[in-house]
Structure formats: C-alpha cells, structure tokens
Amino acid sequence: MAPRVVVIGAGPAGVRAAQACVEAGLRPTVIDEGRRDGGQIYRRQPEGFSRSYDTLYGTEAERAASLHTGFDALKRSIDYLPETLVWNISANAVHTVSGTRYGTLPFDALIVCSGATDRLMPVKGWHQAGTYSLGGAQVALKSQGCAIGSRIVMMGSGPLLYLVSAQYVKAGAQIAAVLDTSTFMQRIAALPRLLAIPAALKKGIALTRVLSKAGVPVYRGVQPIEIKGSPQTGVSGVEVALAGGKRIEFACDAVALGYHLRPETQLADLAGCRFIFDDAAQQWLAQIDSDGRSSVKGVYLAGDGARVRGADAAERSGRLAALAALQDHGVQAAGIGDMQRLRDELARFSRFAAGLREAFPWPAQFAAALPDETIVCRCEAITAGELRRVVRETGAQEANRAKAFSRVGMGRCQGRYCGHAGAEVIAAAACVPLASVGRLRGQAPVKPLPVALTEEAAQ
C-alpha cells in the first residue's frame, strides 16, 4: 500500500515536498495555516489585488511565480487543507483545527515545513503600539499594500533588515533610519562564506544601494537604548547609541525590529524529535541528517523550520526530505537520483547561512545590559528585572523552571518572541552558559484554539 504522506506548510519547502510525492505517484495531504499558498516569503496577495510579481517579489519574482504555478498545478493531485492549524502531533497522527472543526489525520511519513519567525531581542519600550517585527512589516506591505507607519525606523540585524527597508523605499514609504547592530567589519570577515552563493551576496549588496540612492540614513554598530512613546498612543521615537557611543534619537511613529530568524520548532518538539544546541546559531535545533530525517522514524524536517538557510535552500530541502521519505518507504521515484545533487547544493547554502550569522550576529550581549524595567515577555508584560529576581531568589537556572516562576514564555505567543532573549537573561543573571539554560518545551495546542469545537466526520 502507498504510504500516507502529510506535509505541513505550503511555503517553498512544503510545495516542493508535495511536488516530489506527486511525481512519484502519491497523493499527499498538504496542511497550511495560510489562506493561500506561498508561505511567508512568497506570500500571495488577496484575490483582486493587482500588483505584479516584479512589484511584489523584486529579484525573486520568477521563483515566486514558479512556486505558485507549481502549486496550482498540484492542486488536483493532492488533498489541500488551507486555513488549517496542526495543533498537536501524537504517534503517527496529526491533530488539526480549521475554524471550529477539528480532525485527526494518520500518517506514515510526516514532512514538517513549519517555517520561521523573527528572532527578537527586547529593547526598552518595545511593547508599545507601533513596534512590529520586521517580518510583520513585510507582510503589511506585501499582502496588504500598507506601510506600518508614516515615518518608520528599521532596527536590528540580518538580511531581512535590508530587504524590508528596500521594499518599503520602493513602495514609497518614508524610512527615518536603518539601525543595524552589526558592524561593517563583521560583514567583511563573513565574506569568504558569503561567497558560497555569489548571486545572493550580489542581491544583498544591491539592497544597500537602493537605500543609499534613496538617501536613507544607515547606521551600523548601533546599540538600541529605548523605543520612546506613550502607553496610549504608542511609539514616538527610537534612541540608540551610535558606534562611537554618541546617543541619538530618531522621531518616528513605527519601528520594525528583528535579528534574523528562528525556526518554528514546536511541532518537531511535539513529534518527539531530539534537539541539539547549535553553537554557531546559539539556539536549540531539531537534529536532522543531511536529508532531513529527524530522530523520530517517519518524521522529516525541511525548510527554515529546520535550519534557517533561506527560501532557495528551502525548496531544495523540501524536495530532498520528501525523496528521503519516499526512499525510506520503498517508493520507486525517479527523483531519488537527484538526492546527491540536492545535498551538495544545500551544503553551499549552509555555508552561506553561516556567513550571514557571522555578518549579522545575534546580539546576545544586549540581554545582560537590558534595564530591569524592560519588558521581556510582551504577552504578559513581565520585565527583565522580574526574571532576574526569579533567578536570584529561587535559584531557577533552567528555562522551564524560570518560566514556571516568572511566567516568561507562558503567554499566548508561547515563548516565540521572548524565549531566546529570556534564556539569555537567565544565563547572564545566573552566570551559566546559554546551552545549560535549555529550551522552552513545546506545548499543545501550539496556538490558541477556539473553545467550542466540532469533530470532523471520519475521512
């Protein structure tokens, strides 16, 4: 009997995974939270919107079009469940909810392509209305044709900082400043690795040119001090220390903030996958082999949800993970001959990704310097001082124990936006290495569910 394949996510990795299964004669189920396919990076605008692919996706227009048409062509050969959340995974079954209807879907092979969200370091005042993640700022523009404000500061580090800034400039938004915490020297040091994908490096340099041509001030090596504003009306400015130490404030009514990306790992966690601490990324990642096999038989991980390597790599890792699943289940697929080429290409993307981490490092050192009154957990307005008090008074030095006492990580985002920084605050307060703080355990449901649910008729 043909194996039942379930793919979670319809971004670049999920679409290419589903395609590989269909090519091999299978009918996979594709479950996606979005209303339309494309994931975040190739997010499709609502029906009836008229901007061209060039306007929406710039240099990536062809890739986006190829992914969208590729998925459209698959629709008759797959079972597609849009606007559906996988909220839990038990032994060989995923549990879904769509609207108020829940369902259970058994699988032989599960390919998790859960994508990534922005990696955040708090700054004093970031809970105020008008602070958004860089990814969120991009969604506003791409999917809704809106800027997040009338005068915007882009702050943080990573490729998204420059991509979103350039997209905003092209769309006619006013950028007050781009404030990068990484330094020019870090970028030079990263060059040898960034040269692993020369085309991507070239695109990155082109983005900085868009900004300089538009006269947008770009500062590197900054330290964020405070997002100013008021509880009722929100953001009014951003104060930073420039590389030389001079303090400067930029007036604005919105801030986009982010430090590269973090994989969405909750589903891999609920599936029981083993996690390892990645020293280079300074984060916990699910263990995978070169093809995307996790430590759990039948569970495969691909795309930025497994390793943040970008959309082009996600297409390849999605296809590779699906081919591995087909191979493991004894399905004859012509594509299996592609596996070595895909592995080789992914190795180059891994090298490039390492270069990006070097060029735009996670600013771990800022966590220890956060003033006590800085809110770390936006969900429940819990401060760095409270988290430090818990470490000091209860001796909690492990992420889940400190969470139990402080509630940092227990709010509705389930630690997505405070988890990394919270662990850094704990490590600094307890004077222990970050790895020993551990990671917040994934909890089902991975997102809030409606209270009134109806069971889906058996399929």
């Binding site: 901007r51 506003a140 809704q144 006619g172 929100g234």
Partner: protein
C-alpha cells in the same frame, strides 16, 4: 495622527462600512481586520496587564497580540481574519467585559 498604517498600493478597491467601538468606519475589499482597524485608528486593543494599548506585532498569526472582540463577544485574531461588511468590533477591554485574563 488618527491612523497607524498607511495605504501605499491597491488603493482603488471598493470599500464597505464596518463598526469600530460604535463608530462607522470604512474598510476595503481584501483588507484584514487589522488593516481595516489600523487605517482608521492607532491601536487595536488594551493589554490585559495594564501596560497600555497594543497594535499587534507579527502579522502572521504567531504572536497573538492582535486579538479583538466582536460586539457579540467572540474573540478574533485581527491579522488573520478578513474584514467583512457589517462587522462590529470592540477594541476596549472594559467594553468587551471579558474577565478571563487577570487585570492589573
């Protein structure tokens, strides 16, 4: 300032009325509820923890910072819910009268 988001493109869409805190406002076809609310005002909701007004954060259904209430008392996530004609939305905790989260 009476709006947070600024429309830069797709401005020729048909519009329809929705009600926000009892006042009739205009939304455009294809708007998420979040965009309809933040092109008509600067914030979305009260933080339940006493630190002021919030206006969402991630726009991709991950942070849960954009939940608002319908006049019927149902909670909806504004970034992933399309605005629809006739919707009536409440953005203030006192008006929503919901007591499930602790108040400071």
């Amino acid at each position: 300032m009476n709006q947070r988001f600024v429309r830069l493109a797709e401005t020729g869409r048909k519009t329809f009325p929705i009600t926000v805190d009892g006042v009739v406002r205009e939304a455009a076809e294809g708007d998420t509820l979040m965009v309809a609310l933040l092109t008509n005002g600067t914030t979305l909701r009260d933080s339940e923890f006493g630190d002021g007004r919030r206006a969402g954060f991630c726009l991709m259904g991950a942070c849960q910072d954009c939940w608002v209430w319908t006049a019927q008392g149902e909670r909806v996530r504004a970034c992933s819910t399309p605005a629809a004609p006739g919707m009536s939305i409440v953005t203030s905790l006192a008006e929503a009268g919901e007591g499930v989260w602790p108040r400071v």
